[in-house]
Structure formats: structure tokens, C-alpha cells
């Protein structure tokens, strides 16, 4: 008799649990306000990334096209996978001594793992993160970037 009763209670509990599950999916079906999908290419204009978002490493330039990188190479030393190459040049300074300035700050985006050590360890805070994240290109060579903009110069008094 007991097993007979158990047979029916099993059915009852089974059906009840199934209906509970169906109520969840059914409820979401009838509440389209809960849709979480972001429709990406359409919302590109309004899409706001977080301010700390690590899209790519950039060199911060001010409005006079000046940066604060003096080409010390600490970022290059800190990079775990050789994504950064700093090519420094020496120019005669104001006091006549040769001065080390940056010629090209080369950044291989394709190799970068965004560990953040270059930005963290930069003594003059010359590097930062860009918000751009659409990095797909057809040619790998285009992932190698020169971070200091053409014609840019170092801010006075940083060194």
C-alpha cells in the first residue's frame, strides 16, 4: 500500500516541480522588459565604456600635442611579452648636453595581454588606456602602433 501511495505522490511532486520550472520560463516569456541584450552595432553611438576600460595602451597627449614620455624604457622592461619597444633618440638640450628623448614608442597590440604593468610602472604617467575596442584588422602589421603622435614633443620639465 505504501509503495502504491508513493507512486502517486511521486507523480504529484514531479508534475508540481515541472510546473514550477515552466512558470519561470513562462514568466520571462511574458515580460519582454527584462531583455538584457545589448544591440551592439546600433548602440555604438550611445555605448559608454567604463573610464578604466583597458581597450588599448595609448600615450596621453595634451592639447598642444605634447606628451610626458622621456623614453626611459621602464615600460619596455616591465612588459612580460615584449609588446613595447622604445626607440630613443639623443638631441642636444638647451644646456648643450645631449638629451634623451623618445623617437618612437612602438606598441604591438597583437601581443599585448593587458596586464597593466607598463601603465602602472611609468614614472611620468605618460601611458594610459584608450577606450577603443574595435581592433579587428585584416593585416597584422596594422596592430603595430606608434604611440607618440607625429610631431609631438615632451612637456617641459617632466624628464
Amino acid at each position: 500500500m505504501n509503495s502504491f501511495l508513493k507512486y502517486f505522490t511521486d507523480i504529484f511532486h514531479g508534475v508540481k516541480s515541472l510546473l514550477t520550472g515552466m512558470s519561470v520560463t513562462g514568466r520571462y516569456f511574458f515580460s519582454p522588459g527584462q531583455i538584457v541584450t545589448q544591440q551592439y552595432p546600433e548602440n555604438r553611438k550611445t555605448l559608454q565604456m567604463f573610464e578604466r576600460f583597458k581597450g588599448e595602451v595609448i600615450m596621453l597627449h595634451d592639447s598642444n600635442n605634447q606628451h610626458s614620455c622621456n623614453g626611459c624604457g621602464i615600460c619596455e622592461n616591465n612588459c612580460p611579452n615584449g609588446s613595447i619597444e622604445v626607440i630613443a633618440a639623443r638631441v642636444p638640450g638647451e644646456d648643450g648636453k645631449p638629451k634623451r628623448i623618445i623617437d618612437r614608442h612602438i606598441y604591438h597590440l597583437g601581443m599585448c595581454t593587458f596586464c597593466g604593468l607598463c601603465v602602472k610602472n611609468c614614472p611620468s604617467n605618460a601611458l594610459g588606456y584608450g577606450q577603443k575596442f574595435e581592433h579587428a584588422v585584416f593585416d597584422r602589421a596594422r596592430l603595430t602602433k606608434v604611440l607618440n603622435q607625429p610631431g609631438s614633443s615632451i612637456i617641459k620639465g617632466v624628464e
Partner: protein, 362 residues
Amino acid sequence: MTFNIYDFTSFNQWIDKGLNSIMSPTWALVTEWVIIGVVFLLFYAVVGLFLVYAERKVCAFMQNRVGPNRVGPYGIFQTIADFIKLLMKELVYIKDSDKLLFNIAPFIVIIASFMALSAVPFAKGLHAIDFDIGILYVIAVSSLGVVGILLAGWSSNNKYSLIGAIRSGAQIVSYELSVGLSLLTIIVLAGTMQFSEIVEMQRNGWFIFKGHIPAVIAFVIFLIASTAETNRGPFDLAEAESELTAGFHTEYSGIKFAFFFLAEYMNMFLVASIAATVFWGGWMPFHISGWEGFNHIMDYIPPFVWYVGKTGFIIWLMMLFKWTFPRLRIDQLLTLEWKYLLPINLVNILVMAFLVLMHWHF
């Protein structure tokens, strides 16, 4: 001619007379066959494509997504785009496969569902063949599909496919019983197997209300068993994609895969139509005996709309099953059938027979 959306009989007769007046009766018959064939083919394709789209939209809404929305407004052309893609895909040749069976299997599956569709009454007079053993015919023909699935799994020369096919065989052979017996419950009440008569008998109340408790139980069992018979989740063991990658159609590509895909959706449509016809009155409007005014208002809604509405709701229910429940294991699947559905079903038939004998139904 008199074209009436409430009754297609006169429209059919008008076509028949017109054809007979311009050609010999034999050729008229052949032309009618061709017309019906083409109409069914179109209907099949359109409904299949729409159901794939509907499934994707429905499951998307259940999962807090928006679903396809790129091709056309609300993505309605998505499945057509998919279909074109499948048409252009390579038909992969499988090494050491049984070539003849491999190629023939998708056609068996699709033809089985196509044949079963012919007996479904869509509206008054909109009926390809009105067999007097309509239900028996549908049960017989729709279970042919499993042959295609077994052949597909066997001939693919792939162990995943084989496991899927064997599972599917065990599953469909078992669940055929429940489908048949639950329909038998209603046949006991109706006293006929002809679809048109079954629908006509529900003029003053659908069978699910007329047969009350046993009919409701039969309906629930039919819904479960037919979901299993169409290989849909939670009974999609034959193609359990987390266990067998894609089960019996793992090795199929291109249009042959599309055939399996389409057949699955058409089978779903078919069982939903049978459920709607047998339990919910098919195209018959919702009537309550005695409430003449109410019945009259209901009659204004065309039969085809009633039919589509009922079928659509049952399809939605089956989608809700699929997108809610985890999959059963093969032994649990058979336990469910042999230990739960079948005994309940047998008792249910007895109860129904007793009910009919005592005239305790409405």
C-alpha cells in the same frame, strides 16, 4: 463561385466542376492531385520555415534575449537566409558510409511527416483526404519517420549517430503506445476515427470538456508522448547535443541536414494539429451548449483562425517544455513510459469506456 472563409466545401466543388468542364475526368483528377501536391509543398515549406523562426524567437524571449533581428524586420527572413545558406553548403561524402541508405534517410523522414499532414483538417472543407480511419492512418504514417532516423544513424558510419539512432528507435517504439492509447481514449468517446466527424462532434463542446477527467489525462499523456515521439526536448535523446554532438544527423550537411531539421518542426506541427483536432475541436469554434449568443459571436471567427490558434498554443507549450527542462536519461525515458504513462493510460481507457457506457460525459 462562392468563396466562403467559413466553409471551403463550395470552393472545392467549384474548382472540381471547373476542371471537369474543360478536361476529361481522369485529367481533372490528375490536375487536382498536382494542385494539392503543390499547395501542400508550399504550405510545408512556409510552415516549416516559420516554425524555425518562431522557435528561435520564443526561446529567445524565454531567455531574456531578442532572438534573430538582423535579416528583415524583426528578423523574419532569418530562416530563409539560413535555408539559402544550407542549400549552398557542400554535401559531405562520408567515408565507408552506406551511400544509398545515407542518401535516402532524410527523404524517408520528410516523406513520413508529409504524408501524415495530408489527413489533417485545416478548416471546414479544407481537407486533402478524409479517411474514415484518419487517426489510424496518422499514427501509422507518422511512425514511419523512425525508419529514416534509424537508417541515418546506421549508415553514417559514426558511433555517435548509431547511439542516437538506437536511442531514437527505443524511444519511438515505446511512445507510439502512449500516443495510440491516448488517442484511443478519445476514439472511445467519439466512436469514430474520421477526422471530419470527430471535429463535427465537438460542435457543442470540445472533447477535452466533454470527456472531462479522462480526456484531460489523455490530453496530458498525448502531449508528453507526442513530444517524445517528435524527438524534441526534454526527450531529444536521439540528438542530445551535449552527449552525442548531434546524434543521428551528426554526419549530415547542407540540404540533407535541412530535411531532418524541417521534418522535426513539421512533426511538431503535425502532433500539435492532431492534439488540437482531437482534443480541442480542430477548426471548431468554442461553443457552450445553451449560450446561443456567445456561440454566435464565436462563429464569426473563421475556422482557420481557430485551428491556427489552437495549434499555435500547443506548439508554444511544446517549446516551453523544450526550453525549460533538462533532458531525460534513456532508462528514465523508458521508465516514464512503461511505469507511468502506459498503466495510467490503460486505466484511463477503462474509465473512459465506463463513462461512455454510463453516459456520464457531457
